[in-house]
């Protein structure tokens, strides 16, 4: 085996090792990204839950009623008083 061939084999092996390391690092980086995405998704899910509960708070019937009364006032008007009976005119 010539020196050149030995060097080629060693450099080839080194390159192969480097490739494995690079692939490994890239895989790890992607796994980190996936973990971060999962965490983000979890946070967004949590935000949805919080938004749903905020919606529930806004649906409080007493609150809605008070809000409407402030906005438009009592919607049911008092009935007019009954008319006083009129006397029949004498003929």
């Amino acid at each position: 085996m010539t020196l050149f061939r030995v060097i080629v084999v060693l450099v080839g092996g080194l390159a192969l090792l480097l490739l494995v390391v690079i692939l490994r690092a890239e895989t790890t980086r992607l796994h980190y990204s996936i973990a971060r995405c999962e965490r983000d998704a979890d946070e967004i899910r949590q935000q949805v839950v919080e938004a749903e509960l905020e919606l529930a708070r806004l649906r409080n019937p007493t609150r809605i009623r008070q809000h409407m009364e402030q906005a438009v006032g009592p919607s049911v008007e008092e009935p007019p008083p009954p008319e006083a009976p009129r006397r029949r005119a004498r003929h």
């Binding site: 085996m1 020196l3 973990a35 839950v49 749903e52 509960l53 529930a56 649906r59 409080n60 019937p61």
Partner: protein, 607 residues
């Protein structure tokens, strides 16, 4: 050529040596090192199940769960405590000096975990994540902690109960973990269903114990908790709480309780006790600094007195003796009794009326609440029948409403009844103790054709996938207590008259014909010997409309201390107010408005 052979041999020898060393380590310490590596690189994390919601009958969320971000630190990973403390403290609105001291103390104690701050605001969370990333503070991390929230505010705290953080042991051999656990009310009674089942997964973690990737082999998703749907209506509940709160305050009472029930289904529409508490903060922050009496007062606020407390009902009890006597033909509704009050001796027992009545028909005895008249009815019934009447209405048994701590009340064993006293005491609501929920459940008999229904507060349970896990929406008849005609006649004659012409006039409504019964009872001494002077329970139980009752309301005011104590004074106006709001909300057509219109020419029609 020769040189290259030497180089090749040297490299080969080195590689062979390395391989030999590896083989040696594998044989001698392989399993131990693999386990050690697994401990360093792998972590099994519990996936908390989200606690289920509690909804009212219209689907409004009464209790839900959110997760608040909280920051913790592993002091063992900190190299520069001063730098870490002064980096993190400003974004978390903490004192940097105090945090530094805490971190140093934890390091001295070789602690590997320290909470830095609970419940971060969104801005704080943002700032924390930015600082940790830019300054490479790997010792700090964040964890979500569950928290129970009540979007409607202080609605039905005694029904909902509350939760606390506690260690929960999952099924199997998994370690216990911290989770929200129900303490009182529905939260406590349905804790197993609400809690869900936590999951777990194994992760590959880096040196900072941050998740790098999830292992596919050991993953079990969490199953979220089920949703419990109540029969409570948030609006009626809020009205009941507001009216009861004002009443208790106005009359300076020790406590008050109210229950609103649908008499046709047994569904509890509202249940309130005053004083109450905020379910989001059942224990005040300074609880440990309070003295024993103050701590007991805090615990007393947690009691749902509508189901846990019994008291002598007084005259509210009269219909439960008069109506079955009528049903069995022992008395007639128009039968006149020579009351000749205000004092009457029944052997060794002397009974008094508040007014000197001469003679009263049975319906008047009830509507005017004559103790002497009821003593006569009781004497005619005899003890055996009275005992049967009392038990047939469910007194002495829990109603089975589904809330923890329900009391049976107190109906003495028949062998302990005294022939000289009991036939007159029981018909006027003495020698017996009953709970508010028992009163409304029994009173519903007059509204639904004579059936005793089991009151219910949980309508059903829905799984996280939407499947119905339990359906309690059907009425449950316990037994028939009265014939339909008797129940109708008694309601229309005696109970309506109580409001139109008797002791319950202050419950009268313009739109609906209210019916009901007042009660004013003395408070028994602790130990049961005699009564406390000047201490009363004022109650009113009533319903409307009289033709087709849609709601029954009980209000009991315990130990009112000013402006009156009679049930007709302290409780009847509160029932009136709750009924008016409830019936309008339920869109029940006005019963009496047609009569008003008829006087102006519109056709008279009573619904």
């Amino acid at each position: 050529m020769r040189g290259s052979g030497v180089l090749f041999a040297a490299v080969g020898l080195l590689l062979a040596g390395g391989a030999g060393r590896l083989a040696y380590i594998e044989v001698t310490k392989g399993s131990e090192l693999r386990a050690s590596a697994a401990r360093q690189h792998r972590a099994t994390r519990t996936i908390a199940a989200r606690r289920g919601e509690i909804l009212d009958t219209r689907g409004r969320v009464l209790a839900g769960t959110v997760r608040h971000p909280s920051v913790f630190v592993d002091p063992g990973l900190l190299q520069d405590v001063h730098f870490a403390a002064y980096s993190v403290a400003p974004v978390l609105a903490l004192s940097a000096a105090e945090l530094e001291q805490q971190l140093l103390k934890s390091q001295e104690e070789s602690s590997r975990f320290l909470w830095v701050k609970h419940r971060l605001s969104p801005a704080e969370l943002d700032g924390f994540q930015r600082v940790v990333a830019t300054r490479r503070l790997r010792a700090f991390d964040m964890q979500y902690e569950p928290a129970r929230v009540y979007p409607q505010g202080k609605v039905a705290p005694h029904v909902l109960g509350f939760v606390g953080l506690d260690r929960r042991t999952p099924p199997g051999d998994e370690p216990p973990f911290e989770d929200l656990c129900g303490r009182e009310g529905v939260e406590g009674a349905y804790d197993d269903m609400l809690a869900g089942v936590p999951g777990h997964r194994t992760l590959t973690v880096d040196v900072g114990r941050r998740a790098v990737r999830a292992a596919a082999d050991n993953f079990r998703p969490a199953v979220d908790g089920a949703t419990v749907v109540l029969t409570i209506d948030a609006y009626i509940q809020q009205v009941a709480q507001k009216v009861l709160g004002e009443t208790v305050k106005k009359y300076g009472a020790e406590w008050g309780a109210t229950v609103v029930i649908d008499p046709w289904s047994g569904e509890v529409l509202a249940m309130a006790t005053i004083p109450d508490y905020d379910p989001a903060e059942p224990v005040p922050p300074n609880f440990n600094e309070l003295n024993e009496a103050e701590q007991e007062a805090v615990r007393g606020r947690w009691r749902n007195r509508a189901v846990t407390d019994s008291f002598e009902p007084g005259s509210v009890f009269k219909p439960f003796v008069a109506s079955p006597a009528l049903d069995e033909g022992i008395v007639r509704i128009d039968e006149v009794f020579a009351v000749n009050g205000p004092v009457h001796d029944f052997g060794r027992r002397t009974i008094r009326d508040t007014h000197p009545y001469g003679s009263l028909a049975l319906h008047e005895i009830v509507s005017k609440s004559s103790n002497i008249g009821m003593g006569m009815v009781g004497g005619r019934c005899g003890m055996e029948r009275l005992h049967r009447f009392v038990r047939s209405f469910g007194f002495g048994d829990i109603t089975g409403v589904g809330l923890p701590g329900e009391h049976t009340g107190m109906v003495q064993d028949f062998s302990r009844w005294n022939p000289s006293f009991s036939p007159q005491s029981i018909p006027i609501g003495q020698e017996i103790a009953i709970t508010p929920i028992q009163i409304v459940a029994a009173f519903s008999v007059f509204c639904n054709g004579g059936l005793l229904l089991r009151p219910r507060i949980v309508r059903g349970v829905i799984g996280p996938d939407g499947a119905t896990l339990a359906d309690y929406s059907r009425p449950i008849a316990v037994r028939r207590v009265l014939e339909e005609a008797t129940a109708e006649m008694f309601r229309q004659r005696a109970l309506v008259e109580t409001v139109t012409d008797g002791t319950g006039k202050s419950a009268k409504l313009d739109e609906y014909q209210v019916f009901g019964k007042t009660g004013t009872a003395q408070v028994a001494r602790p130990g049961g010997h005699g009564y406390l002077p000047g201490k009363y329970v004022g109650s009113f139980v009533g319903g409307a409309p009289s033709d087709n009752p849609r709601a029954v309301v009980l209000v009991s005011i315990y130990k009112p201390s000013k402006e009156g104590y009679y049930g007709g004074t302290v409780a009847a106006p509160a029932v009136k107010e709750i009924l008016a709001e409830t019936l309008a909300y339920m869109q029940v057509p006005p019963e009496l408005a047609a009569e008003v219109n008829s006087s102006r020419g519109a056709p008279a029609k009573r619904r």
